[in-house]
Each structure stands twice: as C-alpha cells, then as structure tokens.
Amino acid sequence: MSLSPQLKRRYRADKRFKFYGLTAIVFALCFLIFFFVDIIGKAVPAFEQAYIQVPVSYNQSVIHNYNRAIPKEYRRLVSKSFLRTLGQKLEAHPELMNTTQEEWALANHRVDQFLKGHEGHGLKKKYRKTVEQMYQDGKIEFRFNTNFFTRGDSKMAENAGVLAAAMGSIMVLLITIAVSVPIGVMTAIYLEEFAPDNRFTQAIEVNINNLAAIPSILYGLLGLAIFINVMGVPRSSALAGGLTLALMTLPVIIISTRAALRSVPQSIRDAAFGLGASSLQVVIHHVLPLAFPGILTGSIIGLAQAMGETAPLLIVGMMAYIPDAPGSIFDAATVLPAQVYTWSSESIRAFEERTAAGILVLLTVLLSLNALAVYLRKKFEVRW
C-alpha cells in the first residue's frame, strides 16, 4: 500500500507535534529535577547541627558577663545563644553556684560549617586545629537540629528556626480562610444562582475576572491603604497580612466556586423546583453539596497560592526580623516565604542551608495542601 504524499506529510506533522510536546515536558521536568536536587542537596546538612562539650564554670561573674563562664579558648566556638541562657539557669538552680560542669552546648555556626566542610565557614585559623581535635575526641558531635523546628528566627544561624514563621503562616492562613471563603462563596452563589443577568452583573463579572489577574503587590498597597492607614490595623500583624491575602484570594475563590456551581446540571435544580423547593432550599440542599468538591479544591488552591505569597506582605511590613511566634492576630508576625527571603539575604554562610531547608518546609506544606485538595475532590466527587 502506498501512501499519498499528502497523507505522509500529515503523518510527519503529527510526529513532529508529538515530539514538540515531549520536548516541552522533558524540559519542564529537567528544571524541576534540577531545582529539587539543588534544594534538597543544600537543605540536608541543615538538619544536622554541631554540639560541643565544654566546661562551664558557674560563678558570680557569669551574671554580669556570661562570656566568663567558658574558658577563653572555647569562647568563640560556643553559640552565644547558649551563653545567654546561663544567667537564667543560674537563677533557677542556685546550687550550681561555684561549680564547674562539663556541658554539651550548641556550637557556633562557624564550627558547624567548618566541620561540614563548607566553603566560607569563617572559622579563624587558630581555632581550626582545636575544633578538629575535639571532633576526633568526640567532644563535638552532630545531632538532629531540633532548634530548626522549635525556635523562631535568630541572628545566630545555629539557633535560627522556622517555628515563629510557621505559626505566623498558620495564623495568616486562618484569617484568610475566615474572611475570603465565606465572602467568596456567598458572592459566587449570589451571582450564579440569584442575580439577574444584566449590564450591572456583567460588569461585576468582568471586574472579578480582571482582579484575579492583577499583580499581587497591588493588593499589598491596597491593604496598606485600607487596613493599616484607614482601619488602624497594626503594621506587621497577622491580621493585616491575612486581610490583605484574603483580598487577593477572593477573585480566585469566586471564579472557581462559580465554575463549580455551573457544573451542577440544570435538571437537578429543575427537579427540586418541580417538587416545590424554594430557591434557598434548592441551593442549600442540592446545588451546594454537589458543587462542594469543586468549591473546596478552588479554595484550597487559592489559599495555597496565598500561603506562598510574599510581595503584598512586604508592603504591610511582615518581611522583618520577628523571632517571636505571634500570640494573637494583633502581634507582629512573619510568614514562611518571608522567612526564606530574609535568610537568603543574610551574609553568613550557615543561613544558606537554612534557606534551602526553609524552602523544603514551605514546599512540604504546599504539597500537602494540594494533596488534600486532590483527596477531597476524589472523595466528594459525584459523576453523572
């Protein structure tokens, strides 16, 4: 059988098209793999942290100057965050006064980086021999870096963690949910089920679609103008950030909710009306439950996007040094992506691996949110 030249040409075009598609996917995959290998490779060392065994002498002078507690040759090897706690420890345990204890202390980030063999560790030459010797003698050991998960930001890299930022992120997200989901869903239900189709509602629809495409930084400026300057919400607070992100997420939720409502077959509404249900009953009893998985996925994706956002939060002052976890929504708070950004601009090398580890934590949270969206969609999905 011989193929006509035209048919051959069409087959060739077909193959070429498949090939282009495949190249595009391979390309995208390569970037993704490169990104993950790079991030994970950099992040893994951050989960280990050096600890050092040093003699700590508790005496009167420690209260005035905590540096005196440790012999001079070890002073620069121990984290300042450990030394700072000594005065309080002595107050809590007066029986330690005038004793010397061998204690495991958090090691300075320079020691940590030096032993991990990272370039630019910054450990002075005169200490390197001591550190190597101590490491061989088992007086320095690596332990799992629990600080990274139990502490907030710190200027001492060895003491810095993501807890405060994670708490901030959760708080901001809760506010965003509480504000944007009810408003967004109600708006969508009204527009889709109740509103008449006229110039006015069409104008609203066009505007909502436009808002979804607006650069997020503009929401930050809007948030600054409305919430902080007019309503007097405290700058840098979780409330300011949450409200700003809620503004940003609203259009996404409205659009996805409307799409979900539209996908409920008209016959269901007609049947309910036929049985004498009121508009409210039709929506609450029939349309909403069926549209629920769609609404949920849309909302979760919108919220995941909000969670990874930094630009609007920069404007409302959340990109700052805020080491304490917020106690209320009016307290200053920072969020995970902002924390990652702050660390990435630190000059100390140990922050580089913490930046990568922070990205990993953020990615894990975002992936689990997306997985939740997929799971919920599958669970509640109704097929006709």
Binding site: S236, I284, H285, A320, Y321, I329, F330, S344, S347
Partner: protein, 356 residues
C-alpha cells in the same frame, strides 16, 4: 453540609478568640531602616528579647531613605520608634520630621562600615583610584581635553587610565533606594566632582537649570553600571560567575565571602577593619540610628535597647556585633555618643549646617 458550615463557623470563632487577646498584646518596639545596619540592629533586638523582660523588637529592613520616610511620618504609636541609617539624616528629612511633629530626635553612631569594591577571587588584583571609579560610572565625564562634558563612553579600564588592564568595565551595585548607593555617590562622585571646574562651571553659569552640576552624582544608565537590588548576596553570586566585573557592597559581605571574592585596592589602601576605622580607607561610612524621644516611656524597653546597642558588650572593641562585621568606633567617639544618649541630646537644625 451543616457540618461544613459548622467547621467554617468554628474557624471564624477561633480567629475572633485570638483577636480577643488584643488587651494582652503589648506594644513592640518597631525599628525600620538601612539594610546595612539591619544585621546589627536585629542582633541587639534578639539579645534584648533573650533577657525575657521585653518582647523582641521588630526590625524591618526598608533602606535608609525608606526608614526615614516611615520614621518622620508622625508621632502616633504605629510609627517606628527607631530608624537605622547607613548615612546621616539629611536636612530635608529633618525638616520633614519637624513638620510632622517628630520634634525630638536623638542621633547615635554605632560604628563603621566600609564600602568594598570587590571582584571574583579568580580575577587578577586591581588597584584603582577614586577618580578612575568616578570616570567609570558617571553619566557624563570630561572630554579628552577637559574643556567640556561628554557622555561617558568608556568601556575598558585602560581607556580611563593607561596603567589599568584592558578589561571591560562592568560594575554591579546597589539601586537608588539603598544607603550604600547614597554613600557611594557621596564618597566617589560628589567628593570629586564638586572640586572639578568642568562640572561646577556649568552650575555657576546657570544655578537653577544646572543645579545637578554643583555636586554631580549621576550614574550612567547604559548598562555598564548594573543596579542589582538590595540583596547583596546576589551581587556576590554574580561576581563569582562574572570574573571581569566589579561589585559594590558593604564590608561585612566581603568578610563573610572572602573565599570567593577579594577587594580591589582603592587609592592604594586595602579595606581592613583597621584601615576603615582609622579613615585611611577612603570608602568608609558611619552607621546611625535615630531615637524618637516622644515614644520613650510609652513603648517599654526603648532605653534598654538603645543602651544595650551602645554597650561594650555589643559594639566595643571585642563586642558581639564586631563578630558579624561591624567596625567599632574609636573610644572617644563612643564616649561622646554615650553621653548624648544619657542626656538624650536633641538633634537640631544647626547640626546639619556644620560638616559632619
């Protein structure tokens, strides 16, 4: 469906109970300003928080100019209590502060920072004069015979000075919002152009129209000088790749990244802590912070923060801030500023009249 409504209501309720804590929320110290002072300022903030007596102050890195704008916006409690700066407050900013009711301000100097001109460690070492640098980055430069100004057309260092190598001029530096940029323009461009007739004669000819030529500090925009954002790490990374380029940033970045970048010699001096605090290195600058006096007493911990920052433990010879790159003040100057802190000396318009 009911369950879901309950869930949403529960979330909303949680948020409002959290909100009900407002009565307990104490006032945080708010600090804004220079990205160069930020590491030191937040280090002190952390130390203050670690004592357990005060909440850790919130430190935001907004750039010196941005910090002044927020600081001078007014005296209400949601305006910052301190602002950091890597250059002195300008007379214009002081006037704005006064206009907005921020009348009583105390000025502190905490130490020095050197501006480093650095390059990749792989590049052969380079020695430049301030004039070479000025001619490399100014938008307009004197013509060959020196009679008038022409658009900067230098693209290789040896075109400026035959002693320099034949190497393309490419400079990564901070953007206009940055205090490092202000300081660079002051110390390299203005410092030279205000004494060069070829610029100043234009100003003298028409003081209104040619005001810019009094102290000419315009940087060329033809891609030779590349503004690279407030993130100095980015410049470090670019230099590691682009071995023929130079970068401009704070000295602490040079110290931390001494494995990948090395300093250029400026006017025959290499930047070291000694040359910077001794003022022999020409590109050093003082680091400041400003106290809003009207907030003292209303925001807990303000004086404690200021005293801690000025203490030997933080900024003395062997202080903790020197570990992270601050270059300490000479003893007499430190004593001078401590005395000012004790009496909370007001900044006055007269302070801006005399040369600092």
């Amino acid at each position: 469906m009911k369950k879901q409504i309950i869930a949403i209501a529960a979330v909303a309720a949680t948020c409002f109970t959290l909100g009900a804590n407002i009565a307990q929320a104490e006032e945080n110290i708010q600090i804004v300003g220079s990205s160069t002072v930020y590491p030191f300022s937040s280090y002190v903030a952390e130390a203050l928080g670690a004592t357990g007596k005060f909440k850790t102050p919130v430190v935001e890195s907004t750039g010196s100019g941005g910090g002044m704008k927020l600081f001078c916006a007014g005296t209400s409690m949601d305006t910052p209590d301190f602002t950091n700066a890597s250059r002195r407050m300008k007379a214009k900013e002081f006037a704005k502060c006064q206009k907005n009711g921020v009348k009583d301000i105390t000025e502190m100097v905490v130490g020095y920072d050197g501006i480093a001109i650095a390059q990749s460690k792989k590049a052969p070492s380079i020695s430049l004069s301030r004039k070479d640098l000025m001619l490399a980055v100014a938008a307009e430069v004197p013509s060959k015979d020196g009679s008038h100004l022409v658009k900067n057309n230098y693209h290789f260092w040896n075109e400026i000075n035959p002693k320099l190598p034949h190497r393309a001029i490419r400079v990564y530096g901070p953007p206009t919002s940055s205090g490092t940029r202000d300081a660079f323009e002051d110390m390299i461009l203005k410092h030279l152009t205000k004494h060069m007739d070829v610029y100043t004669k234009l100003y003298k000819a028409d003081k209104k129209k040619n005001k810019a030529y009094k102290k000419y500090h315009k940087i060329r925009q033809d891609g030779v000088y590349i503004p690279s954002g407030e993130n100095d790490n980015l410049i470090v990374q670019k230099l590691a790749r682009d071995t023929s380029a130079l970068g401009i940033f704070g000295y602490s970045y040079l110290e931390e990244n001494s494995d990948s970048i090395s300093p250029a010699i400026i006017d025959g001096v290499i930047p070291t802590p000694e040359t910077i605090s001794g003022h022999t290195y020409p590109l050093s600058r003082s680091l400041y912070f400003y106290i809003k006096k009207s907030h003292i007493g209303k925001v807990p911990g303000m004086m404690e923060y200021a005293n801690l920052f000025m203490s030997d433990q933080m900024i003395g010879e062997d202080g903790e801030c020197t570990d992270i790159g601050l270059i300490p003040l000479p003893k007499e100057e430190l004593a001078h500023y401590r005395a000012n802190l004790k009496s909370l000396k007001n900044l006055t318009a007269a302070d801006f009249a005399k040369k600092h």
